[in-house]
């Protein structure tokens, strides 16, 4: 087996054995979304108007909560030292771990998003763009988040710091992810926004594994 599939398989197996972790993230996504009707009132048209944005913001926050798990446990138990020393290119290891993170948090979030969209009265036209936007956007969220997660290893207040570092970088994904849903609601094509999201993903795929690897190397130093 290649390094990529070995690391991916191990992380998936760990996530499966500790599936409560992934479920907690999904549960957070649900409860945070459900808070909005209490905050803005249950009027159907108000909720329908903000549904896309609310789902995107809460999905980002949920993903953020799970991000520090990507490397923190490996850092604390010494696995990271060994992963840096496999002799394989570190960006490949990083990519495998980010893939595992996306599969165990990004995908569950995407799967429950239509159900949560129902509670926010998202018009029918919005569902397909929402799912596609999340499909194209959440990999970027995991990739960019991995850089932040690697940078805060060994800090005193990792989680809060991580949100300060990473959330500003998520704004472009948020803008285009929400715009894709809104375009569909006013009868326009959402493909331009989806292609921009795909572009962001390609950019993140190109840069983020290297930046993360550099951050990990300085973390184990």
């Amino acid at each position: 087996m290649s390094v990529f599939s070995t690391v991916l398989a191990r992380d998936l197996r760990l996530a499966l054995r500790q599936s409560a972790d992934s479920l907690t993230v999904v549960a957070f996504f649900a409860i945070a979304t459900v808070l909005f009707p209490f905050g803005v009132g249950p009027e159907t048209n108000v909720l329908a108007r903000i549904a896309g944005g609310v789902l995107w913001v809460t999905a980002l926050l949920a993903a953020l909560l799970s991000l520090d798990r990507i490397f923190a446990v490996d850092f604390e138990d010494g696995t990271l030292d060994q992963l840096v020393l496999t002799g394989a290119p570190l960006p490949v290891v990083v990519l495998a771990k980010v893939c595992a993170h996306w599969l165990t948090t990004g995908v569950p979030l995407i799967l429950v998003s239509p159900i949560l969209a129902v509670t926010l009265h998202l018009p029918i036209a919005g569902y397909v763009p929402l799912v596609f936007a999340l499909l194209l956007g959440t990999p970027t969220v995991s990739l960019v988040g991995a850089v932040g997660a690697a940078l805060v290893l060994g800090t005193r207040r990792g989680g809060v710091l991580l949100s300060l570092l990473v959330l500003p970088l998520y704004i472009p994904v948020l803008i285009f992810g929400t715009a894709a849903v809104e375009a569909a609601l006013i009868g326009r094509a959402s493909t331009p926004m989806l292609s921009v999201l795909a572009g962001f993903m390609v950019l993140a795929l190109t840069f983020s594994p290297w930046a993360t690897a550099a951050a990990l190397r300085q973390a184990v130093e």
Binding site: G78, Q82, E221
Partner: protein
């Protein structure tokens, strides 16, 4: 058990790795803004052993991490077969590092933990090799248990068992005798002896080091920067 470690199954034959000599010269390292050591030089021949000694804070762990390529030196150069090491990944590929942290996942079984590292290092995992490694450190009956059930000593043995699942010419061991009982120390001594018999080199940071025969000793206290060196930096 010993005989199998020495190559009875054919899994650990010499030639699984390219033996070489490991050396360093003029090494200096800072931690937390403080010079830990400077002007440090060492050589380990194939089949040789180097025991690092020194008081707490003298930089044994730092030196081992530097040798592994985890920490960058302020000055000096590491060399493999007298050729300067400039590709950290290539260097990492020929060493096994056992540090203070055991890199064990509590949710995986003992065998799964080993299998992960074996396939990472060798690109494949073979059950016979895993079983041999577990045997060598008396862990076989625990193979199917989740690692979270292990005691501190058992965890440490599991970490050491990683050394024998994938041969590599250089072992860097940080206090490998910690938390080990006498029979485990003997197992460690056998593993190190077998590794050296195949031409492998070992660097050990240790207070006791009863598990290494012969070999040279490096006292890190000798390379602590003098007060003068501190001031001349500025």
């Amino acid at each position: 058990m010993v005989r199998r470690m020495d190559g009875g199954t054919g899994e650990f034959q010499a030639g699984d790795f390219q033996a070489g000599s490991f050396s360093g010269a003029g090494l200096a390292c800072r931690r937390g803004g403080r010079m830990v050591f400077s002007g440090l030089a060492f050589t380990v021949a194939p089949g040789g052993a180097l025991v690092l000694r020194g008081a707490n804070g003298s930089g044994k762990t730092t030196l081992l991490r530097l040798m592994a390529g985890l920490t960058a030196a302020v000055a000096g150069q590491l060399a493999w077969d007298n050729r300067a090491i400039d590709d950290p990944d290539a260097h990492a590929g020929r060493l096994r590092f056992i540090g203070h942290l055991d890199a064990i996942k509590p949710a995986l079984t003992v065998a799964e933990n080993l299998r992960f590292w074996m396939s990472l290092w060798r690109g494949e995992s073979r059950d016979t090799v895993i079983t041999d490694a577990l045997d060598a450190f008396d862990l076989r009956r625990l193979a199917g248990f989740p690692a979270r059930l292990l005691s501190a000593g058992q965890r440490h043995r599991l970490a050491l068992a990683r050394l024998v699942v994938a041969p590599a010419p250089l072992w860097l061991l940080d206090e490998p005798g910690n938390a080990l009982d006498e029979s485990s120390l003997a197992a460690l001594a056998r593993a190190i002896a077998a590794h050296r018999a195949r031409g492998g080199a070992v660097v050990v940071a240790s207070h006791g080091a009863a598990f290494v025969d012969g070999g040279s000793t490096l006292n890190l206290g000798d390379f602590a920067p003098t007060d003068d060196a501190h001031w001349s930096e500025q």
